[in-house]
């Protein structure tokens, strides 16, 4: 974090401390509040391992995995959204744009509709992982295909990338349409609910795998601050400034695909965070990606955990899909931020 030039470092530090404190508070609330009311002392003794069986199970088997999955998914979506917006120089870019989410959705839809027969052949322990694995494979397949298409003579064309993503999304939509058509009533409902996302499927195995996948990708994405800054003056100028543009583009695409693929496989497609968290970060902390990246990650976590907290507690014992809450909470917050900042600064990037 050297050379944070142009930022009053003390002010920046304060903003980060405030952001971190808010996220920490939401994370604590995620552990402390749920449909089953537990006192803080029960929660803490459950964490420390000397609580009674029931509260321990609630905290360690239900809330803690959700918390960690929420952190992983929020970080993954926000960082890859930030990196893709940066590298494509397109403020509307999000992981859905280059077909990442579309691929995962095709994989998931195929498993939900066609996987029943296959699932019966598998041992019971493996069956729950069939869907996340095929969602991830679908994502990997589609992303590599999109990048193949947009690579010509050693360079990746951003315009082709976006167009290929649009085409792939259309094809994915059609494939999902076919799945919807041949699905029965139960499969259709499963599919519909999957597309709205949920952290409810979190168990420790899933959390461990997702955290491992996401943290590798996120750690690598978080080092790309200078590279993303340089993309803002164009690819040629970035090369003139010492950036290996081709390699950086490939890495960002690969890392985003891994992060979003992992997140989507575990929690379904959760929209809006990848699009909006980086914008919020820029409005709060300025344009320098060295700061925007970590701030996006924090905002992504905060938004996702806050949304999960809301859906878990709003109409217990039922639980609405989290996708509804990310937009309902994130949308107005983003608008407020946008309007207050616009007053202060004139134009908004």
């Amino acid at each position: 974090m050297k050379r944070i030039f142009g930022l009053q470092t003390a002010a920046g530090f304060k903003l980060f401390a405030a952001l971190g404190a808010v996220v920490l508070a939401i994370a604590a609330a995620e552990l402390a509040y749920g449909p089953v009311s537990l006192s803080l002392s029960e929660v803490s003794s459950a964490i420390l391992g000397w609580g009674d069986a029931s509260s321990t199970a609630i905290v360690t088997q239900i809330r803690a995995p959700r918390l960690l999955l929420g952190i992983a998914v929020g970080t993954a979506l926000a960082l890859s959204g930030c990196a893709l917006q940066g590298v494509l120089r397109n403020p509307l870019a999000d992981p859905g744009l280059i077909g990442v989410t579309g691929g995962a959705s095709v994989g998931a839809a195929a498993t939900i509709v066609l996987g029943d027969a296959l699932a019966l052949e598998l041992p019971r322990e493996i069956r729950p992982y069939l869907l996340p694995v095929s969602a991830f494979l679908g994502c990997a397949l589609v992303t590599s295909f999109v990048f193949r298409l947009s690579r010509h003579a050693g360079t990746t064309s951003v315009a082709t990338l976006i167009l290929a993503g649009v085409a792939i999304n259309a094809i994915a939509g059609a494939a999902i349409g076919v799945m919807v058509y041949i699905s029965d009533d139960r499969q259709l409902r499963d599919l519909t609910f999957w597309t709205m996302g949920s952290l409810g499927g979190a168990n420790w195995t899933m959390v461990a795998v997702t955290l491992a996948v996401v943290s590798v990708a996120a750690a690598a994405l978080a080092t790309l601050g200078r590279a993303l800054d340089l993309f803002q003056i164009g690819e040629r100028a970035a090369f003139h400034s010492g950036l290996n543009v081709e390699r950086t583009k490939r890495n960002i695409a690969l890392l985003s695909a891994i992060a979003v693929g992992g997140a989507t496989a575990a929690a379904g497609p959760i929209g809006f965070i990848g699009l909006v968290a980086p914008h919020m970060a820029r409005l709060i902390i300025g344009p320098s990606h060295r700061l925007v990246l970590p701030a996006s990650a924090l905002l992504g976590m905060g938004l996702l955990l806050g949304s999960d907290l809301a859906v878990r507690n709003i109409v217990p014992p039922a639980e609405p899909p989290i996708g509804l809450a990310t937009s309902l909470i994130g949308g107005p917050f983003f608008l407020w931020l946008l309007l207050t900042r616009m007053k202060g600064r004139g134009l908004v990037a």
């Binding site: 749920g34 449909p35 089953v36 009311s37 537990l38 006192s39 002392s41 029960e42 003794s45 609580g51 009674d52 069986a53 029931s54 509260s55 199970a57 609630i58 088997q61 239900i62 809330r63 069956r127 729950p128 058509y181 699905s183 029965d184 009533d185 139960r186 409902r189 499963d190 609910f193 949920s198 409810g200 499927g201 979190a202 168990n203 899933m206 878990r312 109409v315 217990p316 014992p317 039922a318 639980e319 899909p321």
Partner: protein, 279 residues
């Protein structure tokens, strides 16, 4: 033991301890058919929560609502403090089922039962869990007897009338029940034959294909008839008006859960539908 214990858990402890029985007293039911069975067994006071498909008897709607059976929230259900979660065979997601079990809640998934044979099986299954084995056996054999009586009556009318079940109409093509759907099964049990043989499950069917299928009776759910402006409006639609059903205005409209629930009321549903078909 901690001093502060959540009220729900207190309730669990008290009910199990004071009644000193091994049979569950606080039951969450995820499946409309299972809920109806519990009611039919007279154990409704032990039910504390239901899923969205549990809408009969009407008093069931007053209890806690746990959402859709394939997307239950483990902690939401736990908050009710149940000692038994009675689930349809496809209750999910799997992680939530595992979490419920990890928290010490008994979860039992009913056998799949969308056939005439499956209903008595489900009844006996629920009865066993609730400690009402005798009552369940009685109910099961009653259902069996009713079903075979209806089967005999259904066989009496030949040829079987061709029935089309329309699930939804909407703007596009009507959504119609195909081969193997629960509607097709009930139609056959009631002595009709499903006019649609081209596809499985519920699918949109083109207007020409509906005309070609030549249905003699239109079958719909009450709620759908209401939603699309009453039976007269529906029978005026060209794809139905020109069929034998439209021209003779032969239609049956029934409550959805009664018709398709495959619960204790299914013999009644078969009887009602059968009578309409034999007219």
């Amino acid at each position: 033991m901690k001093l502060i214990v959540p009220t729900a858990l207190v309730a669990v402890l008290m009910s199990t301890v004071s009644l000193s029985e091994t049979f569950p007293q606080r039951i969450v039911s995820a499946g409309g058919d299972l809920t109806e069975i519990v009611y039919a067994l007279g154990a409704e006071d032990r039910l504390i929560g239901f899923d969205v498909t549990s809408n009969y008897p009407p008093s069931a709607r007053d209890k806690e609502q746990i959402g859709y059976v394939r997307r239950i929230s483990a902690e939401g259900v736990l908050a009710l403090g149940p000692d038994l979660v009675l689930g349809a065979h496809d209750m999910g997601p799997p992680a939530a089922v595992d979490q419920l079990r990890a928290a010490g809640v008994r979860v039992e998934l009913a056998p799949r039962g969308d056939s005439a044979k499956g209903i008595p099986e489900k009844v006996r299954f629920v009865g066993q869990l609730l400690g009402l084995t005798d009552k369940a056996r009685q109910l099961a054999s009653q259902i069996k007897a009713d079903l075979s009586r209806e089967a005999a009556r259904a066989a009496s009318k030949q040829p079987k009338p061709r029935v089309i079940f329309v699930l939804a109409l909407g703007e596009g093509e009507p959504m119609v029940a195909g081969v193997g759907s629960s509607a097709a099964k009930i139609i056959e049990l009631a002595g009709g034959t499903n006019a649609v043989t081209q596809f499985k499950g519920y699918k949109p069917m083109s207007r020409e294909a509906i005309l070609a299928a030549q249905p003699e009776v239109l079958l719909m759910m009450d709620s759908a008839v209401g939603r699309y402006g009453g039976i007269d409006k529906i029978l005026e639609r060209p794809e139905l008006a020109l069929t034998p059903a439209g021209q003779t205005r032969r239609y049956v409209s029934m409550d959805g859960m009664l018709l398709l629930g495959f619960g204790p009321r299914t013999p009644l549903a078969i009887e009602q539908l059968g009578e309409a078909l034999r007219q």
